[in-house]
């Protein structure tokens, strides 16, 4: 898990990206129904949603690859009606970006640097700097065709930075990477946002990572925003609704599952105990709904009682969490209907 740095981008900065009521349809299907949000410099915005929620359409509109049917957006005050100027200010790592296999890393970045108007020597120098930043300096002269998937993602990010953009759009940058590769890439993204003071829009399915590095989050479902704000705000706002359902998750050792079920079923105020998914030992404990609504002192006592009872029964507890306390729970709650 990526640790959130102590430095937080200032919330008092003016909005760099302002999207207002963006809409797009593909035939009868409404892909986007009024996308409105803002992004400030130096902040990382997580863009979440199940497949088909409209994430890629949003990114394509915001990167001028697609025209919205209505609505508009601006980047640093430049209107979306001037796509060429917008393209000068953004960097993009699209999903499934391809690379010319016959070019070396440095040639590739130099070429794109020149397309953004850098002179040959300057483009080459900057390409070297970028390769160093993304940790590919030793492979600068290797053909991109020989790069691993992780290295290609990193050179893709370097390409997105050749014009020193104000905003970087990253569409599923960690897709297909091993855990170490994911972690390294997320650290790099965090570094880009903090050190360059660049706004980052990060589309990802890795909710724990989004929660770890993003300052703000937009959750899309069926083309509509279902939650928006800082990660803490979104989690906090939705958490109350989820907690009304009063559920906990306990991870016990597989050998203790039966004993744990026995203990829990014998306790008062426990409505149901179920196994979660295929995972051995992960139990979901549903409590009777409290009369007061919000998480109360009584609930905390129940939680303590559950833990005490399990410990007394010598059940090995590997994990314990209140359902709804994570971005993943919020995401699943908000997109439940479309997933069904």
């Amino acid at each position: 898990m990526i640790e959130k740095t102590t430095y937080q981008a200032s919330n008092s900065q003016p909005d760099l990206l302002v999207a207002q009521d963006l809409r797009k349809s593909y035939g009868p299907r409404r892909a986007l129904q009024g996308l409105t949000f803002t992004l400030k410099a130096g902040r990382i915005l997580g863009f979440l949603g199940p497949n088909g929620a409209g994430k890629t359409t949003s990114i394509r509109i915001l990167t001028t690859m697609l025209e919205p049917e209505s609505g508009h957006f601006s980047i640093n005050g430049v209107s979306s009606k001037d796509p060429e100027r917008i393209r000068r200010m953004i960097g993009v790592l699209p999903e499934n970006l391809g690379f010319p296999r016959q070019m070396t890393g440095i040639e590739y970045l130099t070429f794109f640097g020149r397309l953004y108007g850098r002179k040959a020597a300057n483009a080459r120098d900057y390409a070297r700097t970028l390769l160093e930043e993304v940790g590919l300096q030793k492979r600068a002269k290797s053909l991109i065709g020989t790069y691993s998937h992780g290295m290609r993602q990193r050179i893709g990010i370097a390409r997105a930075l050749v014009n020193d953009p104000m905003i970087v759009f990253l569409d599923e940058p960690t897709l297909g990477l091993d855990p170490r590769g994911q972690q390294e890439l997320l650290e790099l993204i965090q570094k880009i946002a903090r050190e360059r003071n660049t706004g980052v829009v990060l589309c990802s399915h890795l909710l724990s990572e989004i929660e770890g590095i993003c300052d703000d989050v937009v959750i899309l479902n069926e083309g509509q925003i279902v939650a928006r704000g800082s990660v803490a705000e979104v989690v906090g706002r939705v958490q109350n609704n989820i907690i009304l359902r009063n559920a906990l998750r306990v991870q016990v050792s597989p050998a203790s599952v039966e004993k744990a079920r026995e203990v829990l079923n014998a306790m008062p105020l426990i409505k149901k105990v179920t196994q979660v998914g295929e995972m051995d030992g992960l139990l979901r404990i549903e409590l009777e709904a409290p009369s007061g609504g919000k998480a109360s002192k009584l609930e905390q006592e129940i939680n303590n009682n559950i833990l005490s009872a399990l410990i007394r029964a010598k059940v090995s507890i590997l994990g314990f969490e209140i359902e709804g306390g994570k971005l993943q729970d919020v995401f699943l709650h908000l997109t439940e209907e479309s997933i069904k």
Partner: protein, 281 residues
């Protein structure tokens, strides 16, 4: 991962730098051209096609010489027949390269990165188009020794170079552009190649029909519209029958119009509408 320091806040001056750089992107087509050229010739596609063409031309010239030994084919006819092969295959190479130029980038996922730059779509297409033409002068150059040998000292050699260079260039422009247009409307290379080759056959096959098969206004109209037919007609009269160009200049219009129309559609229409997805509106 490196600990290199990223220049903080450098992008704050981007607005100014972007304006300055706008004057520099005028040569983006040249950058595209160089990149495409390297891709075609170092990557191998053009190289392999030219290699196959050279081998085929060698066999064709050899068989011409062998046949002429027994049936005394005049050098002029051998030069004309070889020149036809040069045009047909040169045009086909341009068509194949053009057919891969846009749909291939779509398929490989490399087009989006280009479209995300501030470079105009027209410059991207122009660079690709010019690079797509590059096999033609090479093909003509390779044909020179064969034409020289087959002409056997006849002045038709010089004429064949002049007219072959002129008309062949028009055909190469037309076919390369045609392949690019098909590629512009295709999302996959497979469909782009299939449609391009289909169009090529529709243009090529009528040139193999005997003259008596072309009867009636419609047939004659299509014959007149066919750039390969126009080229054959013109070159046969000038190179083989020694007729003056002025009498048959009208046949040059067909390849001229073909090249001009294709280039106009490519640069004016497609040049402003290049998208990641061919079906995108």
């Amino acid at each position: 991962m490196s600990n290199a320091t990223i220049p903080m806040g450098e992008n704050q001056v981007l607005g100014e730098r972007a304006d300055e750089s706008s004057s520099l992107t005028f040569n983006a087509w040249w950058l595209m051209f160089i990149r495409e050229l390297a891709d075609l010739w170092i990557g191998g596609k053009a190289l392999y096609l030219i290699l196959a063409y050279s081998i085929f031309l060698g066999f064709q010239a050899y068989s011409q010489v062998k046949t002429s030994e027994s049936s005394l084919i005049p050098p002029k006819e051998m030069v004309f027949a070889t020149l036809q092969i040069v045009f047909y295959i040169g045009g086909l190479i341009g068509l194949i390269i053009g057919a891969d130029s846009i749909s291939g980038e779509r398929e490989r996922g490399t087009l989006e990165a280009l479209l995300l730059t501030p470079v105009s779509r027209r410059q991207i297409i122009l660079g690709k188009f010019l690079a797509g033409l590059s096999p033609w002068p090479v093909a003509l150059l390779i044909a020179i020794p064969f034409l020289k040998m087959l002409s056997q000292g006849d002045p038709v050699f010089g004429q064949s170079l002049y007219w072959g260079g002129l008309v062949g260039t028009l055909l190469a422009i037309g076919f390369t552009g045609l392949g690019m247009l098909v590629s512009f409307w295709s999302n996959s290379n497979k469909s782009s190649f299939f449609v391009s080759l289909g169009i090529y056959l529709v243009i090529l096959l009528p040139t193999t029909w005997p003259g008596r098969a072309v009867r009636g206004f419609v047939a004659k109209f299509f014959q007149r519209m066919n750039p390969l037919e126009g080229t054959n007609e013109l070159l046969e009269k000038i190179l083989v029958n020694n007729r003056p160009f002025s009498d048959y200049a009208v046949w040059l219009r067909t390849p001229e119009v073909f090249a001009a129309v294709v280039v106009a559609i490519l640069l004016v229409y497609a040049g402003s509408r290049l998208r990641i997805d061919a079906r995108q509106r």
